[in-house]
Amino acid sequence: MAVERPLSPHLQVYRPQLTATLSILHRITGLLLSLGGTLLVGWVLILAQGPDHHEHLQAFANGSIVKWLVCAGFYVFVFSLVYHLLNGIRHLVWDAGYGLDIPSAYRSGWAVVVLSIVITALLAWRAMNGGAA
């Protein structure tokens, strides 16, 4: 039934560019945040269930190998949220019709990269000094 036609963006013929990379990163972080949001629902549910369930969760999260996975997953989630938030602002500005020329798109792109890394690092620093990650 369906007519087989070639799909349009032939990505393999392009040199990787900042704008395209940030665009796909926006999607990837969005998917990760959907996953993280689902886990957040689980956390709220466990919080409502009572201290016993929460103890199980913390015991699980503090397991020797799981601990590193939870920690890594947590920072992937934080970076994803920071990046998606900043790049989302970039997208909203574009939607309003500003900053669409190529030099501006690169400037705002690099600004998003630098700010995401700095803000994620600051949040990690605060978590380590506050003891709660």
Partner: protein
Amino acid sequence: MSLQTPLGRVRGLGSAREGVAHWSAQRVSAVLLLPLSIWFLSCVLPVLGQPYSDARVYVAQPMNAFLLLTFMLALIYHALLGVQVVIEDYIHTRWLEVGLQVAIKLIAFLAALATAFALIRIVLGA
């Protein structure tokens, strides 16, 4: 006069006339999520690792519970709209595409209900 080909018309191709509403809902929820995400990152993040009693006391505060509920409902809605487009773009096997589209809507619906029930329970102290 339509420029659509007869073949296209027979196959039911063309605009579903839902694109603008989807596009705008994605952006309105994004604007709502801007301040809420900043609040989540600065205030709620440390609570995630806290012991049960501290975390529960924090979430039980009416304003925190309200902000968390708003954040999570907006997040679930925004995520549903986004994941829908990702599936449309990349999944070309028809049965899998339809299955996933139905699945994400059910998951989003259940997640929103579960969040609301859990937060109401925490605030009322049951």
